[in-house]
């Protein structure tokens, strides 16, 4: 069951990455990163149990925290990011 859950998390991580790459708006990307971070926390927790050494959950806590801080950071600076776009670039999206 643990393995199954791990696989499911991995699948949703992949989906989140795809959204992060397609993006289309800045907020989509932030969302993808946020979701990716949450999934990472779960993945770490699951991996700990699957490998039989569940005492390393500290890492998962750090992930959760870091994830939050990153999102807040991006939002904090997103105002000036939107502002800072040079005019010659009309569509920064799509690689």
């Amino acid at each position: 069951m643990l393995i199954g859950a791990t696989l499911a998390i991995l699948v949703s991580m992949v989906l989140a990455i795809i959204r992060g790459v397609i993006g289309s708006t800045l907020y989509d990307r932030i969302l993808a990163v946020n979701m990716f971070g949450t999934k990472t926390v779960l993945l770490i927790a699951l991996l700990g149990f699957a490998m039989g050494r569940p005492e390393f959950l500290d890492i998962a806590i750090v992930y959760a925290l870091i994830n939050f801080i990153t999102v807040i950071g991006v939002l904090r600076y997103s105002d000036s990011l939107a502002f800072n776009q040079p005019d010659e670039e009309k569509e920064p999206e799509e690689s």
Partner: protein
């Protein structure tokens, strides 16, 4: 991909992914550090830098052909080199049979710390870690020299108004953060002192501690945070951490041991090792916290100072 923000975000995801990989490869301490550094601090720093340098990449490349050739040659060489390597996970590879067994088998008797990574980091190869503390100190000093504070100000009130929009907009976030910050600080202390038994240690704790301060600065305004944490004080703290580490070494030198030989710090070698590791982890934590805060304050401060100067020019 021309949007640099997206690039940085994806780089952050890469950091997270590699940290997951580290967990899968049993390197929990490394995963800890990579998560807080690769995905957290460095992403944040890059974002702040991008707000100052512009968001999108211009102009297509000129001649990447040469670069491509160089890369293919290097990559080919590396793959060629891996051909004779012991297989992935091999039990009898040279690195598993030569130096490492002593760490695994004897470190409990010699150092008395269950986390082998901590005992190797702090004791067997304590000097490398000293170098690491100095590297981060150097980076702090380097950023201080490169991005000095630009001060041409009327008073702090002007600053407050600048951040108002952020404040009103994110009331809920601020309240939640207020609840979270003490928790984060507590957790940082836990990581700092629990490093002997589980993943963690001075560096990780320092980064988490700094993250709490950075979070505070982002939501309540840089000036407020700067008032809480005095600039000179934090520089002293950075220097103090390195000095603490060094003086542990010097004391052991005076007690008749070699540099960083903790066994002589106390009558009982194991107690001495414990004391030494505790102190140097504190030193590292102190330096890392203050340097991370210095770096962030100077990046973000540069941005706000420049904004203010622009406004003063207009006004």
């Amino acid at each position: 991909m021309k949007d640099l923000v997206a690039v940085v975000m994806l780089a952050g995801i890469y950091g997270l992914l590699s940290a997951c990989f580290f967990v899968a490869m049993d390197a929990v301490d490394v995963a800890f550090t990579e998560a807080s550094v690769g995905a957290g601090i460095s992403t944040l720093l890059m974002l702040v830098a991008i707000t100052m340098t512009g968001r999108s990449e211009q102009a297509a490349r000129h001649k990447p052909a040469l670069a491509f050739v160089v890369v293919v040659i290097t990559g080919g060489l590396l793959i060629y080199g891996t051909l004779d390597m012991p297989y992935f996970g091999a039990v009898d590879a040279p690195i598993q049979v030569h130096v490492a067994p002593r760490y695994i088998n004897d470190s409990m008797q010699e150092v008395g710390v269950p986390n082998i990574v901590t005992s190797v980091l702090a004791s067997y190869r304590g000097f490398d870690t000293f170098g690491e503390a100095v590297v981060i100190f150097t980076a702090g000093i380097g950023v201080l020299t490169l991005l000095p504070v630009l001060r041409s100000r009327k008073g702090d009130d002007a600053v407050e108004s600048l951040n108002d929009s952020m404040h009103e907009q994110h009331l809920i976030v601020r309240i939640v953060t207020k609840i979270l910050i003490p928790l984060i600080l507590l957790f940082a202390l836990y990581v700092q002192f629990h490093g002997d038994f589980g993943p963690g240690g001075g560096f990780q704790a320092g980064v988490i501690f700094a993250a709490a301060i950075i979070l505070y600065a982002m939501l309540f305004g840089l000036e407020v945070a700067r008032r809480v944490i005095n600039q000179t004080f934090i520089q002293f703290a950075a220097a103090f951490g390195v000095l603490l580490y060094g003086s542990v070494g010097l004391v052991s030198l005076l007690n008749g041991g070699n540099f960083l030989d903790y066994s002589v710090l106390s009558a009982d070698p194991i107690a001495g090792q414990h004391l030494g590791i505790l102190l140097i982890e504190l030193g590292v934590g102190c330096t890392v916290t203050s340097v991370m805060v210095i770096i962030f304050f100077h990046f973000a401060g540069r941005k706000e100072d420049k904004q203010r100067m622009k406004e003063e020019e207009v006004g």
